[in-house]
């Protein structure tokens, strides 16, 4: 039962905050009043403590290999079942790190948004749901938490209550739902034809089980790829990302972009490597379609980011592109590719989080949302911009940052596989996209440190401690994991070896 604790604890704590906020609304007859400072610090303490404790619990549970638990049965053969494996541990670790850091950051950031109780309430709940998603031991449980994740993260996008945010949140909801239902279709089909829906390293299929039904199974898996790919921002269901991110509060967009999109990746990994098995789709049309879609997204995302003037939107498009690196890595279906994909998942989480937190600082301190207004920002906030620089380098993939390593593995994985022309086209596109990434990120760095002549440079004052410390930690992780990646690579290769 211990496995349930890190899932339920944050959910319960979040619900307490939500109920408190709800009761307050009723009492005050809906006249919103900002929380007092004293109350605020209580909320912050409560939330951060909750996060830290649950994160510790989650990682502890993750380390207990093979822990599993059945919560209840939807139907006799549909248990809500949790099980922990190495993949869960990997995901839960970086999710927890990011959540705790962003949580600390939010304590300051959210001062300029309203309704902190509600924000932290949902923040905690989303964390619990993500842990649940991570620990899910079969497809139905995964789907359950996947839906909850969409629904509980929607309030992030809605948070500021403006008309655009409403529209963006609906867009987010519909794209996610569309994806979820495509996934559900796949689950329906797999339930019929697959021997089991429980995750098993290397897949549950045997020749007997899909004999004669290969066609519909492949369609189902393709549906699931596209469906869960919606969360991962894969073409054709990527359009929600650039709408949702700019309107959400920055910590929320950081979480959305670095963690929640990764849950799409997690779902895809679970489907492909733990249900279908790589050998089932290797060489089929599904693999080629998947690779094509992911490469298309990689290229398109970078291109759109390149010509995007709004900072957070640019980062969002960048996420579209970068997550598809991961998907491409998975799609080549080789050990090296898989390792690269997982590495990039982790690194991108840290990097993109850092980038969004930077954007948040700019919004918080200077109310700047457009890239062109960032001229000379490095003068007043050097730490932030330096962190941004390192993160950018990581994303581009310049050694010795971590991004280089993951991209190396990705390219290597593609080259090692026998996927026809994609062996060469893939790495080429990754390279072109990296160049574009350099173009759209380094522009900011260059302008920030070396403003164009004649621009008036405003002074904005220093960023608060609670904001730059998490940022520094993330930037540090980006660099550190680039320099000392061995432990992580080893861990990931054990996962990979169990799958192929």
């Amino acid at each position: 039962m211990l496995i349930l604790l890190p899932i339920l604890l944050p959910i319960v704590m979040g619900s307490i905050l939500l109920v408190a906020s709800f009761v307050e609304h009723l009492k005050k007859n809906n006249d919103y009043q900002a929380e007092s400072d004293q109350e605020l610090s209580k909320i912050h303490l409560f939330s951060v403590a909750g996060l830290v404790v649950s994160a510790a619990l989650a990682i502890y549970v993750g380390l207990q290999k093979g822990m599993s638990c059945t919560l209840f049965y939807l139907l006799e053969d549909l248990p809500i079942y949790f099980a922990v494996d190495s993949l869960s541990l990997l995901f839960v670790t970086f999710i927890s790190i990011v959540f705790v850091l962003v949580g600390i950051y939010s304590c300051v950031y959210m001062k300029h948004e309203h309704e902190e109780k509600r924000f932290f309430g949902f923040y905690l709940i989303v964390y619990g749901v993500l842990v649940g998603l991570d620990f899910a031991g079969n497809l139905v449980t995964l789907y359950l938490f996947y839906e909850f994740m969409t629904l509980t993260s929607m309030p992030f996008v809605l948070h500021n209550g403006s008309h655009e945010s409403t529209m963006a949140s609906l867009k987010y909801l519909f794209y996610s739902m569309c994806g979820a239902y495509l996934g559900l279709f796949g689950i329906f089909v797999l339930y019929q034809y697959a021997p089991s829906l429980t995750f098993t390293a290397g897949g549950v299929m045997s020749v007997l089980s899909y004999n004669g039904n290969t066609a519909i199974m492949l369609v189902a898996i393709m549906c699931m790829l596209i469906g869960f790919g919606a969360k991962a921002g894969m073409f054709p269901l990527h359009a929600w990302l650039p709408s949702a991110h700019p309107v959400a509060p920055s910590p929320a967009s950081a979480v959305l972009s670095s963690i929640i999109v990764k849950c799409g990746v997690l779902a895809i990994i679970r489907v492909v490597f733990y249900i279908a098995g790589p050998s089932f789709i290797a060489g089929t049309w599904v693999q080629y379609a998947w690779m094509t879609l992911s490469l298309l997204t990689v290229f398109m995302g970078s291109l759109l980011a390149f010509r995007e003037p709004i900072f957070k939107k640019r980062l969002a498009y960048s996420s579209v592109s970068q997550v598809s690196y991961v998907l491409f890595g998975l799609a080549v279906l080789t050990t090296t590719g898989f390792e690269g994909a997982l590495l990039h998942t982790v690194f991108h989480a840290f990097i993109k989080c850092a980038l969004f937190l930077t954007a948040g600082i700019f919004i918080f301190k200077c109310h700047i949302t457009r890239v062109s207004d960032l001229q000379g920002i490095g003068k007043s906030m050097p730490i932030t911009l330096w962190c941004f620089t390192f993160a950018s380098l990581g994303l581009i993939g310049i050694p010795p940052t971590s991004g280089f390593i993951s991209k190396w593995y990705l390219a290597l994985g593609a080259l090692q596989s026998d996927i026809g022309a994609f062996r060469y086209v893939g790495p080429a596109i990754l390279l072109v996209s990296a160049l574009l990434t350099a173009g759209y990120l380094l522009e900011i760095v260059v302008n920030g440190f070396f403003p164009k002549e004649g621009t008036e440079i405003k002074s904005y004052g220093k960023e608060p401690k609670a904001m730059w410390i998490p940022l520094m930690v993330l930037a540090g992780l980006t660099l550190g994991l680039g320099v000392l990646p061995n432990g992580l690579i080893e861990f990931i290769s054990t996962i990979a070896s169990s799958l192929f």
Binding site: F22, H25, L26, N30, F72, Y73, L74, L75, E76, L78, V140, Y143, L144, E147, F148, L151, L158, N160, G161, S162, H163, S165, T166, S169, L170, L173, F174, M177, C178, Y181, L182, L184, F185, F188, V189, Y191, Q192, I216
Partner: protein, 491 residues
Amino acid sequence: MSEMIMPIVVLLPIVFGLTIPFVPLKSKKAKMFYVEGIVLVTSILAILMLLNQPTAEFTLFRFTDYLNVSFRLDGVGSVFVGICALLWPLATLYAFEYMEHEEHQPTFFMFYTITFGVSLGIALSQDILSMYVFYELLTMVTLPLIIHSLSREAIHATRKYLYYSLGGAAFAFIGVIFILVYGDTANFTAGGVLDLVALADKKELLTLVFFLCFCGFSVKTAMFPFCEWLPTAGVAPTPVTALLHAVAVVKAGAFACIRVTYYCFGPELVKGTWAQTVLMCLIIFTIVYGCSRAIKETHIKRRLAWSTVSNLSYILFGVILMTPLGLVGALCHMCFHAVMKITSFFCAGAIMHKSHTNYVHELDGMGRKMPFTFIVYTISGLALMGVPGMCGFMSKWALADAALTDGSPLAIAGVVALLISALLTAIYMMTVTVRAFFPGKDFDYSKLDGVKDPTWMMLLPFGLFVIAMIVFGVNAQPFVDFFTNIAMALM
């Protein structure tokens, strides 16, 4: 003697319902107790009957030697009795508050109570003729409920309802006659009453008759192209739209379709024929069409009515699959949809009652003023969308399971339609929630002064329904087992 309880539960609300306008009770409260008392006693008796499961039959009266109105309780009937008996008392409670400012209350409650008895009559009917009798009666006793406000639209809606319903019944009647003439027995028998070997030369004809009969009964279930009446009938008071157009009337149509398909003509006759194909195409189309219309519709009750159109075709989809699993799915959705849709209708009613708004664009900011109502509405929306952990998911699961076990291309198309419809459901349900809670940054709440959550008479049903939706969603196994038992009798 336990079979005596069957005519009692049917006739008690009818007879006592007729007395409602005449009881010499002065105070409003006393009348309320009287009405609720009748309904509650009937419900309790009905539930006792379900627990007892009388096996004997009871003949109420005979038209001719072989044509009679008689009752017997069986599995499918129990399901329908259960739905009615559980929802009616709550709906009546809700109606008290909703109707407090309306005219002609005694007449309204009279027909409201009678309808209860008639619905139970449909559920308990032993043979197709009895069912037809109660089916027609249902149309008639619900007529005054729809026309209640006597406004121009109400009259228009009533006429439409009447023409559609009686027209459908006219074609269903053909099927009734054929069953009476060719069936081995007129009584419902799992697997059908036709002796296919003896009637081998009439197969084509019987298939055609089945098609007509199914179409006839599916008018009440609002299958395309017979669906226009249902949204129009949304002008009726909300307790009526909720209970009748989400539970009793339309479910009676679905119930009749189940009876006709599985208990009269039998799946064996129709399976694989053109009739199944055509009906399945119509049903699949309705599933998507209803949702699309719901999105276009801005009147909140009509929107829910279109949603009902779509959801009812889920049930029909299960029915027309003609497999035991299909029946399980159909019954699942019949139960679960009743709970979900009655909840959302009640929320819509509470909103209309408290704020006198009818259109979706007028709901901005209402969520802050009526938080409970809108939270319940959202939960019912989630359930309708089929979020796992809610009952809607389980019925979708059962239907998809049945369809994919069947495996034919049309069945798979049906699953796709289910999912498309789920997505569209998300759109039309969630836009309302988002509007209500997030009206925009500088929304002026003073416009909504005086709007508040309803009293306990409305909130109590809400609470119970929410619990039901979650309990059914989390622990559906007993239901599925029960339905599977019923369906296994068909094998």
